[in-house]
């Protein structure tokens, strides 16, 4: 049975070329970039190249890229680092109700420390309201954090509009969690109006345990990790060179192919969405019709997402209910709840997340299996 992996927003399969780059830095160019000898210089060059690749992908400068251990660290650092650095200028923070837990929980921690946080609400498609953002901004506001692409439903937030409003009417820093957007959709040109932006390696066919934070030149935030002074003192700890090399390679490949892969995924998503909504009764799309090309969230009413997930698994098709992290806990998705979805819609939600390495046949087969499994489960569910 062919494996059909539709959980690319949880993590992706590492590209072979990327894995080779990782392997080489583990076995050949294994030096410590801080070492004074040749092995160190060689390692530093590899790191530099990766940093340049990522900077180029963002339209940023290499010195604005700081490597971290992944999306969670980038988000924690951006939010805490900005809040702590600007504490004297104000006490008010803004974010949205549908952020990834690594953002939401960080804000919750800051609330416990005495910061006040406004959570922007979203509409039924998951969009924030820019007017609400405008009204929420006060002279006390020191940070706004909005995700680029929602990881559960694929809504692309109006980042450019938000940036303009924030910059026009406040002194707040603007952080964007771009973990699900980077190298999947074109980002705001030169990251105009964005001060901080989080990235992750393993969502773009790179290794796990590596990410980055873009920190705009002249913007200063407090470091979380103190120590040997790596990353110009902003993020200490010996650099994860294999991760960095792999991340750089993956970013380059993704950016080189962005247009092609984007349009492939748009077609795949369209086919999957239409195939499900037209052929399987009582299905509801969660999120906007367009939206990120790699994320599709659909509720199969009268089923339970988890059962459907396991049923698909037995056919070698891998999907997710909500985001992988929230699947560990019982209870439903905070994103769907914030979008005003009914309990039945929340219970039956499945996230399909695509990659350009899928074929149309994979999609058609998935639709076929879905139709069978949904019918079977519905027969058995509580009447």
């Amino acid at each position: 049975m062919k494996e059909i992996y539709l959980d690319n927003s949880a993590t992706t399969k590492v590209l072979e070329e990327v894995a080779r780059a990782v392997f080489d830095t583990m076995t050949l160019h294994f030096g410590n970039p801080s070492s004074l000898h040749r092995k160190g210089i060689e390692a530093e060059k590899i790191m530099q190249e990766a940093r340049e690749n990522i900077a180029k992908a963002l339209g940023a400068s290499p010195k604005e890229i700081y490597f971290t251990s992944g999306g969670t660290e980038s988000n924690n650092w951006a939010v805490k680092g900005a809040a702590y650095a600007r504490r004297r200028k104000g006490n008010h923070l803004i974010t949205t109700a549908i952020e990834h837990p690594s953002v939401l929980e960080t804000f919750a921690a800051l609330e416990r420390e005495g910061f006040s946080v406004t959570y922007l609400q979203v509409d039924r498609e998951g969009f924030i309201d820019l007017n609400q953002l405008k009204e929420a901004l006060t002279p006390e506001t020191i940070l706004v954090s909005i995700m680029y692409v929602n990881n559960e439903v694929g809504t692309i937030e109006p980042i450019q509009g938000a940036a303009q409003i924030i910059k026009a009417s406040s002194n707040a820093l603007f952080h964007v969690d771009a973990v699900q957007a980077f190298a999947k959709i074109p980002l705001v040109s030169k990251l105009e109006g964005i001060d901080l932006l989080s990235l992750s390696g393993h969502k773009i066919y790179g290794p796990k345990g590596i990410g980055a934070l873009f920190v705009r030149d002249k913007v200063s935030i407090a470091p979380l990790l103190h120590g040997g002074g790596q990353e110009t003192g902003q993020r200490s700890g010996t650099e994860n060179l294999p991760g960095i090399a792999g991340f750089g390679k993956a970013a380059k490949i993704c950016i080189d192919n962005l247009e092609k892969w984007h349009s492939q995924m748009v077609q795949l998503k369209e086919r999957l969405m239409k195939g499900i909504l037209d052929n399987i009764p009582d299905t509801v799309l969660n999120g906007p019709v367009s939206g990120a090309p790699h994320i599709l969230n659909i509720s199969f009413l009268g089923t339970r997402g988890e059962i459907l997930l396991h049923a698909l698994e037995s056919k070698n098709i891998y999907v997710s209910t909500g985001s992988a992290c929230s699947s560990h806990k019982s209870g439903n998705s905070h994103v769907l709840k914030a979008m005003g979805k009914s309990e039945e819609e929340q219970d039956g939600a499945i996230r399909f997340s695509l990659s350009p390495f899928l074929s149309m046949e994979d999609i058609d087969y998935t639709i076929e299996v879905l139709a069978d499994e949904v019918r079977e489960i519905r027969k058995l569910m509580r009447r």
């Binding site: 988890e306 059962i307 396991h310 049923a311 806990k329 019982s330």
Partner: protein, 389 residues
């Protein structure tokens, strides 16, 4: 270097004619439990004791044997020739390794070997005096000593002063085999533990209904078996693929009778599986009134389909008491892992808490019970679970 441990067993020493049988099983269990650390353990049984000579470390021995049912005490000991000078020096060496400063002690001598020329009180006096002369900060108290040093004069002499408690009970296997219905929850592993403690060898049966229960739930059950295997050396787990039977029941059975019908089906399958492996009873974690399927009427209804005894060691326990026990035996943290049974979709909104038998029979009459049982019995995966070393 080989170390000596004296292993005392309480209850099984009382069992008259059966004693050699129990002792043989206990010796096997000890050997099996220590096997990962020492494959040539010497075990000698004499006078209601087992002498264990092993090169395993003290920590390995004590940690392992505290889980072997049937053992009452484990005493790290030393032996020497039947010579008073040697006995005195051995005793001194043992005492020196104790945390003796500021403590009271006494020496207690037994002399089954009457060929030894000194009487017990004389040996005690001389050994005690020798210790007092050589170690500072010790005082004698013959009534309430903090440290008791035991000297036993047999074909050789044995000296010890620690008594590390074992788990008691009866050696696993001496009371035959039974089949535990293991669910992944808190109760059933505790029930299994309690019967192992009474000498039962466990096999376990788990009803897997993928995709309604995830494979992580199955892994959890395997982990629970791994903990239980600590007490018995091995647990054979039968994983029944229950999905098809479950679907059939779901389609044919009135909702309020579904739980009880499912329980009855599980009992039938468990009983047949038990018979096929020579297990003579079933074990469940039921506790009276805990949930709808554990009311007296519901138990009567599940019991009806069984012809072999069903042991329910937790029947009179409160949930809190069961949780305490689960923590003690090390299954609690595994049981509370959140891979919820999706089977909850099948839990009726209003289950019959007091099902009458005729209602249950009517509900079941629409099912081909024998066919479903046979079908499930054909689809069983057997996993031999060993303890983690």
């Amino acid at each position: 270097m080989e170390n000596l441990y004296l292993i005392s067993f309480g209850e099984i020493a009382l069992k008259g004619e059966n004693r050699p049988y129990f002792e043989r099983i206990l010796i096997q269990r000890i050997k099996q439990a220590l096997l990962p650390y020492d494959d040539s353990v010497q075990l000698e049984k004499t006078h209601g004791r087992i002498y264990c000579y092993t090169k395993a470390s003290r920590e390995q021995v004590l940690n392992t044997l505290k889980n072997v049912f049937g053992i009452v005490y484990i005493s790290p000991a030393k032996s020497c020739e039947n010579d008073l000078e040697q006995i005195k020096n051995t005793a001194l060496e043992i005492m020196r390794n104790q945390n003796y400063k500021g403590k009271t002690f006494k020496v207690e001598t037994r002399r089954p070997n009457k060929g030894f020329p000194f009487k017990s009180p004389e040996v005690s006096r001389q050994v005690g005096a020798h210790i007092l002369r050589n170690l500072e900060g010790l005082k004698v108290d013959v009534h309430n000593p903090e440290i008791q040093l035991d000297v036993e004069i047999r074909e050789r002499s044995f000296v010890y002063c620690e008594k590390v408690p074992g788990p008691g009970g009866l050696p696993v296997g001496c009371n035959g085999k039974a089949m535990l219905l293991l669910s992944g929850g808190i109760d059933s592993p505790v029930a299994g533990y309690m019967l192992m403690k009474r000498g039962i060898e466990l096999e376990a049966i788990y009803f897997h209904s993928f995709p309604f229960t995830s494979d992580r739930a199955k892994d959890k059950v395997i982990e629970l078996c791994r903990v239980l295997a600590k007490y018995s050396g091995k647990v054979r787990l039968h994983v029944v693929n229950f999905t098809e039977a479950l679907k059939e029941m779901r389609k044919q059975t009135p909702e309020e009778f579904l739980t009880i019908t499912m329980r009855r089906m599980m009992m039938r399958i468990a009983q047949k599986t038990a018979a096929s492996v020579g297990a003579k009873a079933l074990i469940t974690g039921e506790s009276l009134g805990q949930v709808a399927s554990q009311t007296l009427e519901a138990i009567v209804a599940t019991n009806e389909v069984a012809t072999i005894p069903i042991f329910r060691p937790l029947i009179g326990f409160d949930k809190i008491e069961i949780m305490e026990l689960a923590k003690k035996i090390g299954t609690y943290d595994i049981s509370i892992r959140p891979y919820a049974d999706c089977c909850t979709v099948f839990v009726p909104r209003h289950p019959k808490t007091r099902p009458n038998l005729s209602g249950v029979h009517d509900a079941e009459s629409l099912l081909d019970v024998d066919k479903l049982t046979e079908m499930s019995l054909k689809d069983i995966e057997i996993i031999d679970v060993k303890p983690q070393v």
